[in-house]
Amino acid sequence: MTTPVLRGKPTLASVTDQVSDIVLNRPTGRVWLLSFALALALTALLGAGISYLLVEGVGIWGLDMPVAWAFAIADYVWWIAIGMAGTFISAALYLARQEWRTSLNRYAEAMTVFAVSVSGLFPILHLGRPWFFYWLAPYPDRMGVWPQWRSSLLWDFFAILAYLIVSILYFYVGLIPDMASLRDRARTRGKQVFYGLLALGWRGEARHWARFETLSLLLAGLAVPLVFSVHSMVALDFSEALLPGWHSTIFPPFFVAGALFSGFAMVLVLGIPLRRCYGLGDFITERHIDNLAKMMLAAGLFVDYSYLSEIFTAFYSGDPYDIAMTMHRFTGAYAWVFWTTIACNVVAIQALWWPRVRRHHGVLFVLGIVVLVGMWFERFMLIVSSLYQDFLPSSWGMFYPTLWDLAFLFGSIGLFFTLFLLFVRWLPLVSMFELRKLVHRHGGAPA
C-alpha cells in the first residue's frame, strides 16, 4: 500500500462531520445552481419530447425501415451500461475486500440507480404504444394472453425490473445508518423529520449491525451475478436476432466489458468534479483516481479484444454477409462512426498506461468523456451498421437522426444530472459508517 486510502488524520467524529456538513450546513453553491438549472432545462426538453412522442408516435424519430432501431436503443444500452460499474465497484470490490472502494461506493451506487432509471424509459418509449408496456408483465388478464417467454424483449423486461429494484434496495440499505447520523446531527425540524423518516429509527445496536452486515454481504453476492446477467440479457436482444454483426455468441461478455468500461468512465467524470467542488480530497485520494483509471484501462482492453475477435470471426467464418457487414463498417456510409469508436475506445485509452496521465485529473476527466462518447458511438455503430444494409440490397436504406433524436439523448443526460445533483445536495456523498469502520481498522483515534 503506497498511498493511504484516507488522507490526513481522520477520526470517527471528523469523518462523520466532514461528510454530513456537506449535506446539512454547506450553502448551495453557484456552480451547483447553474448546473441544476442546465440539467432541469434539458429535462424539460426530454419532457417535451416524451409528450410529443405520446401524441405523434415514434415517427418523430428518424426511424424507418430498414433501420427501425437507432438512437433510442443506443441510448438505452448506453445508460444501462453506465449503471453496471456502480454495482461492480460497490459489490464486487466489497466482496474482494478492496478498502479503497469505501469512498466511492455511495456515489457510484447513486449513479447506478439513476442511470438504470433513465435507461428504462427508452425501451418503453420505443414500444410504439408506451401506455401498454405493462402487457410485458405476466398477469392474468381478460384477453387471455400471456407474454411470449421465448422472446428476449421479455427477458429484458425482467432483467431491467430486477436490476432497478435490487439496485434501489442496495442503495437504500447502505444509506440507513448514514440517515441516522444525519438525523442525529440535523438542527432544523424539517431535516430531522426528513432524515428521521429515511433512517427508519436505526439505533446502531450490535445485533442490528450483525444482521445488517450479513445482508450487505449477501446482497453484494447477489448483485455481482445480477450485473453480469442483466447486461448479458441486453446483449441477447441483439444476438438472438439473425442479422450479421448481431448473431454472435461473443455478445454477452463483450457487452459486459463495454458496460464496465463506460461505467468506470462515468465514475471518473462524476468523481473528479465532486472531489474538487466538495473538498473530498481526504476521502477520494490520488490512489482512488489512479485505481479507477487502471480499471477503465483494463475494461477498455477487454472491449478492444472483443472488437478484434469480432473482425477475426467474421473473416474466419467465410460467411459472405458477415464479411460484407464488417467491410461496410470499415468503409461504408457509417465508417466515420466506426473510426470514431476506434479512436475513442482503442487509441485514446492507451494514454492510461502512463502513470503521469493517471495522476492528471484534468486529462482523466477528458478521457472519461471521450470514452463515454466512444461507447455511445459503438452502440450506434453496432445497431445501425447491421440494419442499414442487410441480406437484400433492394431493402437497403440510410438512417438520419431528427432533432427529436438528439433531444431525447441530451434530455436523458439532463434527467440523469438532475437526479444526481439532487442526490449531491440531499444525501451523503460518502458512506460515513464505512469510513468510520475504516478509520477504526486503521487505528485512528477512537474519539
Partner: protein
Amino acid sequence: MNAPREQGCLAQFASVPALMAAVRTLRADGYTRLEAYTPFAVEGLAEALGPVRNRIPLLMLLGGLLGGFGTLALQWYAAVIDYPIDVGGRPNASWPAFIPAALEMTILCAALAGVVSMLVGNGLPRLNHPLFNSERFEAASRDGFFVLLRADDPRYEIDRVLHDFERLDPLHVEQVLP
C-alpha cells in the same frame, strides 16, 4: 406504554476496547439482557452480548428458491396449459428460454426477502424509542459507544447496576426511562 425491555441504564464508553471489556465483565457478572450501540459494526460484539438470531441467509435462500421456481412454474403454466403457441414446432415447455426470467426473479426475490427480514429482525421501522430521549445518545451514530442494561434483566436493580457500571470507568451513566 413502553415495556421494561426498552428501559434501563445507559453507559457511554470511550473506545471499542473499553466497550468490549465492559460487555465481557457485565456478562461475567451474570447480566444477560444487555445491548450495545456503536457507530459502526464492531466485529465480535454481537456474539459477546449473547446469542444472535440471524436467519437472513436462510430466508434469502427461501426467497430466491420461491422466486426462481415460482417463475418457472408460472412460465410452464402460461406456455403449456393456458396459452400454448406453436412457434416453428418448438416444444411448449421451452426450458432453456425460461431460464433468463427465472434467474432474474430468483435474485430479486432473494434480495427482497433479505431486506424485509433484516428490517423485521431488527424491529424497524421504529421511529420513536426511549433511547432517543437521551441527549448523549446522538453520539451513537458518530463516535459514541454505549451499553444498555435492560430493566427486564433478572439482576436489574438500579443501585447494583450503577455500582457495576462505576467499576468499568464509563464516560457517563444515565437511566433510560419511558
